[in-house]
Homo-oligomer: 389 residues x 2
């Protein structure tokens, strides 16, 4: 186990009645609020009105930045910063999923950042100052509701998707009501589950030894998603599975599960260029990249793959060589992803062989390697992408 | 899953070099520090000097309250409150294990409490104001380093061991260096592991349904202690097992694992009267009470016991009736406790049949029931104590 520091002060308010607490939280943090959200879904669902009502009851003034898209854009972040500065906003409230929260975080950092927010994004600088952020979560997936990071696509110059973060970006609170996830389309539910599992796997594949506790915690989380995703997909209004998925999504990414270990994150970094490329949903991109990454890297530590296969994917190891067990693991994982309606090959999302070199190149921009479990160069990323074709 | 709120802002600084961070933490919180500790062990180990040096480097003034005993006393808490008030202390630093931390917490609450601290203790009131607390942990067991509660024995009037708590008592930081646990005597190591497992089991035994994620997280934690305790006992200077146990001890009790569920806590409440009775170590008392509690309550939800047996204690359930599986579970658990050198019967700690009625009565003082999984009255507590004879 490595030395570590763990700090996660987000107040999680979880459950069917969680939204009634919003006004008390708002009172603690803000008088002039920038509310960030996406398209019309929160208006259709009635959540917009619930939140607005709470803001009114808290006697706070509300400014609105709508229109956050999946794979959120730097240009909208800029508009938010401008709007927040002009109106002397003191608190940012994100109402939505990961893209909305990440936009809110980038705005919260950008408002107090001296330079150009694009520089912060492209250099991955550490944020030490930001406005306080609150979250009303509608999509369990990104885990951004209590994480310290934000992922933004530079739609102005480079087209690259990059991240930055820091303790100052950890939200003060997250209101999490599983009922709000009932209306998520199946594909989005599946993408969310794929993203959650990927967050867990990125942490699982470490070269740090003596990490039994966090191994077991990660395994429990993956197992929970594997068991509950099919139920939520079949019965979208099943409270139990929706709540298991929602809470797992937060724990998967609040940094508890990488205490004492070093995660990999190659699959995320490679995938980011897919979603940057043609607006592939992040969870779908991960469903394609992660199995290919496993195929490419598994010889680095076969025992770790076997442990995952046996403990989480219920592969019977009896009398099988490790290669066989790992093959079954990857196949089982791919079958699970397919059963959720997700693509597992690049061709399914219209990415062709001739697109791969530029994807590999973009994943390397500004980096000397990608991933930690097996540090990858451009050539190796291209091999993984080819395995994913 | 029940609605819940989760908030745990303790900054965990974990590892071999963690103590060098103490001065930065102290600088954030205090100029006039009350350092609370136990007997001479931190002087013998050199930790006292390390901490004092950090306090000096932080340019803070240090007052000292030494002499905290296991099952910490109200009278010492009073002395601490007096000393802290007289010296205008602004920060309490606990250097030790659960008893030291609990004393520090009670002092931190008492300083700003208007009434008599004994009232707060006996009514179990919620603390909303307290001085900030920091921890340098030396014994993994109580989990008090990031919990909101404190357990104190009233040595002045009632002789009862009672608890109170509140968010204001959650420590600001905990410095956790597994190397500091190398010198723990075997018995204390074993008692710590027993306490950690008990914290996990108290949460595990719930009547709330649809709690898969937290079930699995608790199971992973128990399994980790089961695997690592024997190693730490055999090789006291084994870093890996010491660190697994230390980090598990914190996670077992920081409230993450009871999100969405209701724990039982009967075994703790019954045990508290044992340690109040004749200074039995808390972990040893739990090793006696918990198996007896299991024997008495298992019919309430046999499936839950079977799940624990199969997933954590590796009991093979094939072709066995549930009663048999549960019998094997309890036997395996008792064998584990015995293998650590702990008592599993009251007679081993010189408690006799004639002592039981008063123990049962004391556990009920000020309470209408004990426990949640099966709400117990005095008669039932007596039955459990009799099973533990």
């Amino acid at each position: 186990m490595k030395d570590f520091e763990f700090y996660n002060p987000t107040r999680i308010i979880f459950g069917q009645n969680s939204e009634t607490n919003l006004l008390y939280e708002i009172r603690k943090y803000g008088k002039r609020i920038l509310m960030v959200y996406g398209g019309g879904s929160i208006k259709k669902s009635g959540l917009y009105e619930v939140v607005s009502q709470q803001i009114r009851e808290a006697n706070a003034l509300c400014f609105e930045l709508a229109g956050v898209q999946p794979n959120p854009r730097l240009s909208l972040v800029r508009r938010g910063i401008e709007m927040a500065r002009k109106n002397n906003v003191d608190f940012i409230l994100a109402v939505g999923g990961g893209s909305v929260i990440d936009t809110a975080k980038a705005i919260a950092a950008g408002i107090v950042y001296d330079g150009d927010i694009a520089d912060l994004l492209m250099t991955g600088g550490t944020v030490t100052k930001a406005l306080p952020i609150g979250v009303v979560l509608t999509i369990p997936a990104a885990g951004s509701e209590s994480s310290s990071g934000t992922v933004i696509t530079d739609d102005e110059k480079t087209g690259l998707k990059r991240s930055f973060g820091g303790e100052a970006l950890i939200p003060e609170f997250a209101i999490m009501n599983p009922l709000r996830t009932y209306s998520l389309p199946k594909y989005q539910t599946a993408c969310g589950c794929s993203d959650i599992i990927a967050h867990l796997l990125e942490r699982y594949f470490t070269t740090v030894t003596d990490v039994e506790l966090t191994d077991r915690l990660i395994e429990g989380c993956i197992k929970t998603v594997l068991n509950n995703a099919p139920i939520a997909l079949k019965k979208p209004m099943d409270y139990a599975s929706r709540s298991e998925i929602m809470w797992t999504g937060t724990i998967a990414h609040n940094n508890l599960l990488n205490t004492g270990r070093v995660g990999d994150w190659a699959s995320h970094n490679i995938e980011h260029e897919l979603s940057g490329f043609n607006d592939v949903a992040h969870g779908a991109g991960l469903a394609i990249i992660f199995p290919a990454w496993m195929k490419f890297t598994h010889t680095r530590d076969m025992d770790r793959f076997v442990q995952l296969a046996v403990r989480v994917f219920d592969i019977d190891p009896t009398d099988k060589p490790k290669e066989q067990i790992i093959h079954e693991l990857i196949e089982t994982f791919e079958n699970f992803l397919t059963s959720m309606g997700l693509p597992i090959r690049l061709r399914e999302i219209n990415i062709k062989e001739q697109d791969l070199p530029s994807l590999a190149r973009k994943a390397m921009v500004g980096r000397t390697q990608v991933g930690q479990f097996v540090p990858l160069d451009e050539k190796q990323i291209l091999e993984i992408l080819t395995l994913a074709l």
